[in-house]
Symmetry: C2
Subunit: 141 residues, 2 copies
DNA sequence: TGCGATTAAATCGTGTGCGATTTATATTTC
DNA sequence: GAAATATAAATCGCACACGATTTAATCGCA
């Protein structure tokens, strides 16, 4: 191990950038009553309502052991409903409540605030996003 | 929210890449008996032994509420010792045990395995590391 | 010198992540 | 069509993260 190994490690950069993002999101999402993973679920549902737990998991790279408790908290918060699929009762369909739909308007300003905090231009951001998503896909392969 | 908002979001890319890294590290670190955050602490200590909890936290971007329990687990595992600083008893100095020092040899192959999993060249990796570390530093500013 | 302010860890409660297992439903296969 | 298999969620236990508070030691300054 040479000097400053951590400082030069890609995985640590990703890890610590994740922590930093979380800390930036926290005060922004707090007025909405959401944690960052909960916000991700809401974003996924604003895009496509009625997804099953597995489908949500495919989009978020999470499984039911993480999603089920999180979804229950969103349900308690009155933002979503969870109901067994009539055609296949193994699946649970997740839908938005009216309150959950209304939250979209309040959340509209979030991406802009985050963009500002990154200190990047839109073009830099797009490029970095692609590189990191590619890295993630490599890691998952 | 347009289509595939998540897929185009930088923060989600960082978040999901972090998850993916964690999953790659898990089976590699399991034989060493370490989690990824524990591995980071060990790397920091292999670089500089005798750091206080705060100093470790500055390197890892963590605080005592996270580090204290983690360090206690490393202590129980026999890899480190924790002792109050004689000159300033508020601080706790973290040192390696002989077992902790020996683990460095076993961990030597880890970075190579990770590099392989990223599917990147060393030069691509270095560039991406710099970009993400820069992003993190912007977010922390 | 003494006492209020500061600093360093630790503690506590909540919310993720995830491996392993369990439960319930659907599908396959004989 | 019944038993074996497969699939979807849920459950459980453990280890982070982190805001908020507490405890203990040191510092600062009148």
């Amino acid at each position: 191990m040479g000097p400053a190994v951590l400082d030069q490690s890609l995985c640590f950069a990703v890890y610590s950038a994740g922590l930093a993002f979380n800390r930036v999101y926290k005060p922004i999402l707090e007025p909405l009553g959401l944690t960052y993973p909960q916000y991700l679920v809401m974003v996924a549902l604003w895009e496509a309502e009625g997804q099953s737990v597995s489908e949500l998991g495919e989009h978020l790279f999470l499984e039911s052991n993480t999603l089920t408790p999180l979804l229950k908290r969103l349900e308690v918060a009155g933002l979503i409903t969870r109901a067994r699929d009539k055609a296949d009762e193994r699946q649970v369909r997740v839908s938005l409540t009216e309150k959950g739909r209304r939250l979209l308007a309040e959340a509209a300003c979030v991406p802009g605030q985050i963009l500002q905090a990154t200190g990047l231009t839109v073009e830099q951001l797009r490029q970095l996003q692609r590189a990191i998503a590619g890295l993630r896909d490599n890691l998952r392969a």
